[in-house]
Symmetry: C2
Subunit: 534 residues, 2 copies
């Protein structure tokens, strides 16, 4: 399933597209220097800025070859065979009782014989987790003029309801916050406001949730899900990647230092990161595992994330596997970059962490860090393994192809190729690597264009349509356009007590997590240049 | 009030701004060649695309000198003295009975002694008309994926109510549609849809409205207003300006051929332009003037428009003055380019058309066409007048300065400087050329950022915030994101009968305008290269 050098070097004609493919193989021992553009301030709105930055940034990155899909003649498509009228209810694959097969679907046998062709039960599960990952974007407050910039717009109690994910059958348990001691201006969102912001340092970075009774019965175990938020415009952090592997105190194991910083940074003077994301998530997972195991239930941990979120998820899985032996742990990542070296991969395998990497062939992010450098070297693991700077991918791969979908444009659109919603659309339509797009795919096509413009114009779905009316301004009773105050329950606050879901749902135990409480960090952070505990 | 060469050549330092001013005087006899970028298709959403195109296009235009305002230290501003809390009701200047002074306020004496200092009654009137002009943007359907792209989003009956302009005291009488036989890809909005669009050729271009009884009593006469829509991104049509003056069958009088084409084009095979914009508006104005004169009322015509809309308004005023002698006609334009030559100006003056040009000093559009070429020559009218290619401005000028407002940023922002809402904000705050910003200005500041980002960040108003939730997509009862059908009454249709306002308002006569009926065109269109009546 790995990308082979031959496919990388394949030059596909791109008729009717103005974008030229460029091919420049970088010598194996040469570092990729990408011009840094950190210092120009973000001036305009999120999606447009992101698109522009992507274009700017990738003008540098495109010195390596980017594959673009073959263009088909759109008018040859028989639209009538695809039933996506306004009058059908969107669904993913059938919601079957999978309790007998959950271990295989969770990766026990490395998804052997389940990926190609893709088992419909697995397809449903992948989309379920992908929707959790997508929700971390949809609920995120990107408004740099908001005092709540970088927080979640909704209260945990209403999160799934607000995002239309009640149907997935999970109950919110905990929000996760992260910060970073490394100056990565694009990785974390910052409010423009100097004062009055909810937090100067932290970002809402995801959540921990638990399957409810009904869903647990259907899937055969109590499933704890951790969803990690990624970044919207991957180009922004390509430039920040120092391509520097840091040891994590476990032999030769090394991981990318930027990801590690977000996962492990904390600071006593902050409100939301007196403990690190690592400590927050692990404390909650441990608590939930204990609670349900004491009730005699079978428990699993499924970690998901897109892009940066996938990278954080892998660090999270590594830590969870080390600290909770015997717990079935799998990671379902979407468009995630590489995280660590060969020793990291081997240790994950050894601890039994199962990783399913969903990868769109045309997406450049899974080629990061290292781009083609590593692609060419992966076949020589034995030889290059000891080299610290060689990143490697882990686990099984579900490989998708933009050109498989008749709904997607054929031109080069790196933002579109990387979008989480594009991934979910392609999973929904994937039957096998030898088949055409699934004709009875029922997921709402319009979702693809939430934050990109990849859908063919014939569908008439506006580009980047996911937006608030008047960017959240409302006309108040005096006739003035103002930014409304959030409902008190939606204002982020570092609670000493988690929301009392027990009262609401009767199934999830109350968290007694206290933000100020420390615990021994799992990862030994070993960077000399920065001070972790300032 | 004309721009003098000395102020044009003044070089102001722009500290803290990364944008450099460039000064390059173009020799008088040298044409300005602006690189055309017509052929790249518009891919992303309106405002962002507009901003990008502006930047691209102006990289060429900036070979001439652009003035940027002096930067003040923002922290020196005493915000507390400016009362713009959420708890005040936005108002313009006091709504006084101006019936005794209406002729002067309408320009009878060329606004002598009313502009500097600005008379508060006149300020209110200018803002009233400017809000009509702004409404033509706010109601316009820019969605190129909509089958109604290029139309007005609202039914005429509900137009003022939907846009919160009921307070202005006018009743909608007629919508105006325009087309052009010249290929000007950016002047008129086109749907991407090949079929099913409401009109392949026409754009909604403005409206005719009439003051109601209460407002007529306050302002001392029955006022017919014509509001012309402009273009959002002026850069788009700079490139289309051929700088070609066309005779309009009236001696030496010549006007820019692109504006004239939009004003006069028609085609029998279209739905909305069997008659031209000129014919539509003049028929309605003549009808209303007759109706109210027969009732013994005093009647005025006030024509308004921003940018391209101001140019069309001047052509409209020219035609109205020729065909309705004795009718008091004035034009209040905002950021309008030049339209015709010296003979055009002289003829307008001779016919008694009064023109108040509201101009923001930093806005480049009023310098179009011709840019500095004409600025330097205007003092030599006697010498250059006969030259066909010399465009000239007409009438009185109310000159505004971005740097007068403590709410506005100081950096170069050509889109912001040109925005109609910026104009209204500066009118609201203008006392005199010698005074600081009016401290009791009460118009809602947030409106400035509707379609730009000119407000200082301290105000926390998002950039370009005027937008629909999810770009108009709604979640239907099946759980699918769809573009809702318009209410039948909001679907544009070329009516044989105008909406029966008489029944609704009891004051405005029913129009018996029929789209198919022709009338002798006032302007003799004399271009050889195109066929007007195809």
């Amino acid at each position: 399933m790995q990308t082979t050098p031959s496919s990388i070097n394949q030059h596909l004609p791109v008729p009717r597209s103005s974008t030229k493919t460029r091919s420049l193989l970088i010598p194996n021992n040469q570092k990729i220097a990408v011009k840094s553009e950190h210092h120009h301030p973000a001036k305009s709105n999120g999606a447009a800025t992101a698109t522009r930055r992507l274009a700017e940034s990738l003008s540098g990155l495109l010195r390596v070859h980017i594959e673009t899909p073959l263009r088909k003649e759109l008018h040859q498509i028989d639209w009538s065979c695809l039933d996506h009228s306004d009058r059908t209810t969107p669904t993913s694959s059938p919601k079957e009782d999978i309790s007998e097969k959950w271990c295989e679907l969770h990766g026990l046998t490395d998804w052997d014989n389940l990926l190609d062709p893709l088992h419909p039960w697995l397809r449903r599960e992948i989309i379920k987790y992908g929707e959790f990952s997508q929700a971390t974007y949809d609920a995120f407050d990107f408004d740099s003029f908001s005092e709540y910039c970088g927080s979640c717009r909704y209260n945990p109690k209403r999160f799934f309801e607000k995002l239309g994910l009640g149907k997935n059958g999970y109950v919110m348990s905990k929000y996760i916050y992260a910060m970073s001691h490394i100056d990565m201006p694009r990785w974390l969102q910052r409010s423009n406001l100097v004062e009055e912001t909810w937090s100067k340092d932290s970002n809402w970075m995801g959540f921990v949730a638990v399957s409810n009774g009904e869903e647990s019965r259907r899937i055969g175990r109590r499933d704890i899900v951790v969803a990690w938020r990624g970044t919207v415009a991957p180009s922004e952090w390509y430039e920040d990647l120092q391509r520097k592997l840091e040891p994590i105190g476990d032999g030769d194991v090394r991981v990318e230092h930027g990801f590690l910083s977000i996962y492990t940074s904390k600071c006593d003077t902050t409100r939301y990161n007196k403990s690190s994301a690592s400590e927050q998530v692990m404390k909650e997972v441990r608590r939930l595992v204990s609670f349900y195991r004491e009730r005699g239930e079978e428990v699993s941990l499924t970690i998901t994330g897109h892009s940066l979120g996938g990278a954080l998820g892998l660090l999270n899985a590594y830590e969870a596997a080390s600290s909770l032996p015997g717990l079935p742990i799998s990671v379902i990542s979407f468009g995630a970059p590489r995280v660590g070296n060969v020793a990291f991969r081997e240790k994950l395998q050894q601890m039994g962490v199962k990783t399913l990497r969903v990868v769109v062939k045309q997406d450049v992010v899974p080629k990061m860090p290292g781009l083609m450098l590593n692609e060419g070297l992966e076949r020589f693991d034995d030889f290059t393994g000891p080299l610290e700077w060689v990143y490697t991918h882990v686990g099984a791969e579900l490989r998708l192809d933009v050109s498989s979908s008749p709904y997607l444009k054929r031109g080069l659109d790196l933002l579109g190729f990387h979008s989480q919603e594009t991934y979910l659309h392609l999973v929904d339509g994937f039957l096998s690597s030898a088949s055409t797009f699934r004709s009875d795919a029922r997921r709402d096509i319009a979702l693809v264009n939430k934050a990109c413009g990849l859908l063919v114009d014939e569908l008439r779905i506006p580009h980047c349509w996911y937006q608030l009316a008047n960017k959240g301004l409302v006309l108040n009773s005096y006739g003035r356009w103002v930014k409304p105050k959030r409902d008190p329950e939606d204002i982020p606050s570092p609670s000493r007590e988690a929301p009392s879901h027990q009262q609401v749902f009767g199934e999830v135990p109350t968290s007694n997590y206290e933000g100020t409480e420390g615990s021994t960090p799992f990862f030994q952070f070993s960077m000399d240049s920065i001070s972790l505990y300032i």
